[in-house]
Amino acid sequence: MTKRRPEGLTATLLIGPATMVVLLSLVLPLALLARYSMNRYDRRTFMVEAFTPENYLRFVTDPFYTGVLWTTFSIAIVTTLLCLILGFPVAYKLARSQSRWKSIGVLLVILPLFIGSTVRALGWMGVLGRGGIVDAIYGALGGSGISLLNSSFAVALGILSINLPYMILTLQSVIEGIDARVEEAADSLGASPPRRFWHVVLPLALPGIGTGGILVFILAMNAYATPFLLGGARFQMMAPMLYREFAVNNNWPFAAAIAFILMLTTLTLTAASSLLVQRRYRAH
C-alpha cells in the first residue's frame, strides 16, 4: 500500500511525455477535424461555421465517392490476402533458416522498406509503362503498344510490393517464436507437411497473421503515392482524393468528412478482424 504512491508518480514521469505528444498531436487535431467536418464550404470565404451533416450526406449519396471508397477497400483486401499468401513461405523460410545467409536475407527484406513507395512506383513504371519491358516484349511478339499503367492491376501490384516486407517481417518474428519442437513432434507422429502446416503452424501463427494483416491493410487503405503514380488521373483512391479536396478544391470541411469516413472504415474493419483472430486464438 505504501509502495503505490511513488510508483504512480514514477509512472507519470515515465509515460507522461509520450502521452502528452499523442494527446496534443493526435487527439486534439482529430477533435478539431471532427468540428471542421460539420462546417459548410463556401466558394468565396472557403469555410463557414455551421453544424450540418451535409458533408457526410454528400459522400454517402454520391455514387462517385462511395465508388472510390469501394475501390480503395477492395484493393486493400485483395493486396492483404495476397501479401499473406506470398509472404508466409518467405517468412517461414527466413524464420527456420540456420545458415549464414539468413542475415543477408533479412537485410534484403528490410532494405526495400527504407527505399520508400515512390521509388518502388518508379521501378514499376519502367516495367509496365509505355516503352517499358512488358510493352517491349509484347511488341517483339507482334503486339502493338500496350501500357499496363493507370489500371487497378498496376496499383495492386505496386501496393503489394511495398507491403510484402512488412508482412514478412511480422510473420517471421511470430514464426520464430513457435517452438520448432512442436513441428518435429507433429512430424514424428506422422503428420504430412501440408497437415503439419494447416493444423500446427498456421493456428500458432494466427496472432502474427492478424497483426501483419491489419498493418498491411491500413497501409493499403492509406496509400497515396502508388495510386497517384501508377493509377493515373482516372483511377481514384481515398488518400489522393482527400488530398485533392484539400489542396486543389480548398474544401476543408469535405476533406475533413472524407478523413473521418476513411478513418472509421479502417478502424471498424481492424477492430472486427482483431476480435475474430482473438476469438479463434482462444478456441485453440
Binding site: 487535431p29 506470398l86 527504407f114 503489394l160
Partner: protein, 281 residues
C-alpha cells in the same frame, strides 16, 4: 494390400511434390515483387536516352554526373535525414521510458494508455496530416507565429508516428526479458534509478536498436502525413521524387534514387556489424 499402400505412398509423395512446387513458386513471386522495382530502377539509371524506352539505345553513367546540377534532391535528402534522425532520437527519449512504465509498473489506466500510445498506428496518415495542418493554422491565427513548413513542426509530427513503433517494439522486448535480474539488483541494494540505468536499459539493447531502426524507417519514407506539412522551402526526399515524377520520368530521377538506396544500404550494413539485424527484428 501392399500394392495399394505403395500407390497411396506415391500419391502422397506426388501431393507433397506439388505442394513444394507451389510453395517454391510463391516464394519466387514474392521475391520478384520486392526486388524487380529496385533492379529496374538501377537499370533505368544507366539508360542513355532522356526518355525511358526499352530497350535503350545505349548506356551511360552521365546521369550520375548531372546529379550535382539538381541541388534540390540533395537538400531534400538532407531534410529527410535530419527530420528522421531527430524524430528517432526524441521518440526513443519518450518511448523507452513509457514502455518501461507500461510493462514494469502497475498503475490505474495502464491498459487505456497502452491503446492510446499505439493508436497513431491505426489512424491513416492523410487523416493525421490534415488534422495537424488544421490545428497549425488555428494556432497560427491565434499566436501569429509562422509555424507551417518549419523543421520543428515536421519533427514534432514525425514524433507522433515514430513513438508508437518505439513503444510497440520495446514493450514486446521487455516482456521477454527476465525480471528477476532487475529484482536481484534491487535486492542487492541498487536504487531504482541505478537498476534502470545499469540493468534494464542494457538488457533492452536489441529492442531499442530495432525501435530506432523502425522509427527511422517510418519517418524517412512517410509521404501521406508529411504531404500536408511541407512548404516550398522544406521538402522531404520522397516528396521531392514524387513531385519530379509528376511531370517527368527519366533516368535522372532513377539515378537519384539509386544513390539514396546505396546510402541507406551502407548505413544498414554498418548497423548490422554492430547489432545483428536478423536477431533484432
Amino acid at each position: 494390400m501392399a500394392k495399394g499402400s505403395g500407390s497411396a505412398a506415391i500419391q502422397a509423395n506426388g501431393a507433397q511434390l506439388s505442394a513444394r512446387l507451389i510453395v517454391g513458386a510463391l516464394m519466387v513471386v514474392a521475391i520478384a515483387l520486392m526486388t524487380v522495382p529496385l533492379l529496374m530502377t538501377a537499370y533505368m539509371s544507366v539508360f542513355a536516352d532522356g526518355v525511358v524506352t526499352f530497350p535503350p539505345s545505349g548506356y551511360t553513367l552521365s546521369w550520375y554526373g548531372k546529379l550535382a546540377e539538381f541541388p534540390k534532391f540533395g537538400q531534400a535528402l538532407g531534410t529527410s535525414l535530419k527530420v528522421a534522425a531527430a524524430a528517432t532520437l526524441l521518440s526513443l527519449l519518450i518511448g523507452v521510458p513509457a514502455s518501461i512504465a507500461l510493462v514494469r509498473l502497475s498503475f490505474p489506466g495502464r491498459g487505456l494508455l497502452n491503446v492510446l500510445l499505439l493508436s497513431p498506428l491505426t489512424v491513416p496518415g492523410v487523416v493525421i496530416g490534415l488534422g495537424l495542418y488544421v490545428l497549425l493554422v488555428e494556432v497560427e491565427i491565434r499566436s501569429e507565429l509562422p509555424l507551417t513548413g518549419s523543421d520543428g513542426v515536421l519533427i514534432l509530427a514525425h514524433l507522433l508516428i515514430t513513438t508508437p513503433w518505439v513503444v510497440r517494439l520495446c514493450v514486446a522486448n521487455l516482456i521477454q526479458l527476465d525480471r528477476s535480474i532487475e529484482e536481484a539488483a534491487a535486492n542487492l541494494g541498487a536504487p531504482p534509478g541505478r537498476v534502470l540505468w545499469s540493468v534494464t536499459l542494457p538488457m533492452m539493447r536489441q529492442g531499442i536498436v530495432a525501435a530506432a531502426l523502425f522509427a527511422f524507417i517510418v519517418s524517412f519514407e512517410n509521404i501521406e502525413m508529411t504531404l500536408f506539412l511541407i512548404s516550398p522551402g522544406t521538402i522531404t526526399f520522397p516528396i521531392s521524387v514524387l513531385q519530379y515524377l509528376e511531370y517527368r520520368f527519366d533516368p535522372l530521377v532513377a539515378s537519384v534514387v539509386v544513390v539514396q538506396t546505396a546510402v541507406i544500404a551502407l548505413l544498414l550494413l554498418a548497423i548490422d556489424r554492430y547489432v545483428k539485424l536478423s536477431k533484432v527484428v
